[in-house]
């Protein structure tokens, strides 16, 4: 009990207090201390990799072993990981201990630039389609709130692109071509700013109070729910 709970909680409190205090201390020592801690976390952080790799692969092993639906596809996870790690260690013939060669292509770079990058970019870009469909489906002025939501959206959306200047000029005369952009800016600068400031202040109070709970060992869920 002492080792499993008490000491960790004490550790949290002590280190947290140090972290809190050093923020107020201009003395060089506090700077050096922070540098040291940073280095510690860089080191510790590296080890999280093993947990990640294990838990991910573990799930796919289970799928394959249990012949769960679509287990065959899980093989490709191992394929991708294995090949990528292999070429990464091979590192264009220099081996894992050398720095990556800058001047030439390695298969590791190739895999990154031709598999990972296009996949990420494509999935990200799917948002374009989803925004269109989401907007079409849900931007209906059913009540005041919804009306405000869609009104603001339409104005800002339109005001952000050059075409709005053309349309504005055509509607309100050349002198007023900036109508839509200005309206969009106004919305962004006043109501939007207000709401965000509200959320921001509320959330930051939440953050602080949680930090306090953690420091005083009241919030412990990060230690894992069950004790033993």
């Amino acid at each position: 009990m002492v080792y499993k709970r008490l000491i960790p909680l004490l550790l949290v409190f002590v280190i947290g207090l140090l972290g809190f205090v050093q923020e107020f201390v201009p003395h060089p020592l506090s700077g050096q201390f922070r540098e040291e801690m940073t280095m510690w976390f860089r080191v510790i952080g590296g080890f999280a990799l093993f947990i990640g790799a294990y838990s991910l692969l573990h799930m796919h092993v289970a799928r394959i072993r249990r012949r769960m639906a679509g287990w065959g596809y899980s093989v490709f996870v191992f394929l991708g990981a294995a090949v990528m790690i292999a070429v990464g260690l091979h590192n264009g013939g220099l081996g894992p201990l050398a720095a990556e060669p800058q001047d030439r292509m390695t298969w590791f770079k190739w895999g990154y630039e031709n598999i990972q990058v296009p996949c990420s970019a494509t999935i990200f870009s799917i948002l374009a389609f989803f925004m269109a469909s989401a907007a079409f489906r849900t931007f209906r002025a059913r009540n005041v709130g919804a009306a405000l939501l869609l009104g603001a959206a339409v104005i800002v959306m339109f005001g952000r692109v050059p075409v709005s200047e053309a349309v504005g000029g055509w509607l309100f005369g050349v002198g007023h071509s900036g109508v839509f952009p200005r309206a969009a800016d106004a919305i962004m600068e006043y109501p939007n700013l207000a709401a965000q400031r509200g959320i921001m202040l509320g959330v930051s109070l939440g953050v602080i109070s949680q930090a306090v709970r953690i420091l005083f060992g009241i919030e412990r869920s990060y230690l894992g729910g069950s004790d033993e």
């Binding site: 000491i7 960790p8 949290v12 280190i15 140090l18 972290g19 809190f20 280095m39 976390f41 080191v43 510790i44 590296g46 080890f47 999280a48 990640g52 790799a53 679509g70 596809y73 093989v75 490709f76 996870v77 394929l79 991708g80 294995a82 790690i85 990464g88 201990l97 590791f108 031709n114 990972q116 494509t122 870009s125 799917i126 948002l127 925004m131 919804a146 405000l148 939501l149 869609l150 603001a152 959206a153 959306m157 952000r160 109501p191 939007n192 700013l193 207000a194 400031r197 509200g198 959320i199 202040l201 930051s204 602080i208 930090a211 306090v212 420091l215 990060y222 230690l223 894992g224 033993e228």
Partner: protein
């Protein structure tokens, strides 16, 4: 572009399977014709790279139409590749420079002892972190989190107060007296008076009312009835405008991502001239 290149999933009729196969063939032919990967002059590796990238792009888009075997393959491959990439990068950027080199590549004994002195504890903590995987010894990892999360929380308090509370508070307060001070000289009912005093002041009022109303909406200890109800409704309205606005603002960014892909497919895969 989004017109799916593949149109099937396990259960759909042979017709769609056929269409899928056909599209794959078409894709390959087009690629080979446009990029000539095997012509003696071409840089085969990068040409094939572009073909793979373009193929994956289409496969990912095909999900927009329907889930299908090619997507399932791509999805799992992608998960694997990111894992592999992450692993190698962690080795290169964290484990090698922070753990391996300081001990096994130290130029002098001085350097070695130096790293032994400073790095032993964090390395032990790192190893403890990994015990998370074991049901029996998992609790050991708590020492590592305790350190990381404790430090994080301790640091978070003053920094949050600094940049999110004080900064925001002072810039929420400033506009009023600054506009008033600034526009003190301008004659009443002049154009300048309107644009330099009245408008900014109105804006400031809107922002303040909005901020307060939204803060009130997040008030949990009172029922939102009568006056309170009215204020929190106002808060909701402000939130709605805010959400609408950032949705509208976001469209732009998302569209440009799509544009990015289109540019890739047009300029690099199909090689159409700019």
């Amino acid at each position: 572009m989004s017109e799916p290149e593949t149109r099937t999933d396990g259960k759909t009729p042979a017709l769609e399977m056929g269409a899928l196969a056909l599209l794959v063939v078409v894709f390959l032919i087009v690629s080979l014709v446009r990029l000539q990967p095997f012509s003696p002059t071409a840089d085969t590796a990068s040409a094939i790279g572009i073909i793979v990238a373009a193929g994956l792009t289409f496969v990912m888009y095909s999900f927009l139409y329907r889930d299908n075997p090619l997507f399932k393959i791509a999805e799992n491959l992608y998960v694997g590749v990111t894992l592999g990439y992450g692993a190698i990068m962690t080795w290169r950027l964290s484990l090698m420079p922070e753990v391996y080199d300081p001990f096994f590549n130290s130029p002098t004994w001085g350097a070695f002892w130096n790293s032994a002195l400073h790095r032993t504890v964090p390395i032990i903590l790192g190893v403890l972190l990994v015990t998370r995987l074991s049901r029996k010894y998992g609790w050991l990892s708590r020492y590592s989190y305790a350190l990381m999360i404790g430090w994080g929380s301790g640091l978070a308090i003053p920094l949050t107060v600094h940049s999110y509370i004080l900064q925001q508070l002072s810039s929420a307060i400033a506009p009023f007296h600054e506009t008033v001070a600034h526009a003190a000289a301008v004659p009443i009912f002049s154009q300048a008076w309107f644009f330099e005093l009245v408008l900014p002041a109105l804006g400031a009022v809107v922002v303040m009312i909005g901020t307060v109303a939204v803060l009130f909406y997040f008030f949990f200890s009172v029922e939102h009835k009568r006056v309170g109800g009215a204020i929190s409704r106002l808060g909701i309205f402000f939130l709605m405008v805010c959400f609408g606005a950032s949705f509208g603002y976001t469209v732009m960014g998302r569209m440009s991502l799509l544009i990015g892909r289109v540019q890739f497919l047009l300029y690099e895969w199909l090689k159409i001239p700019k």
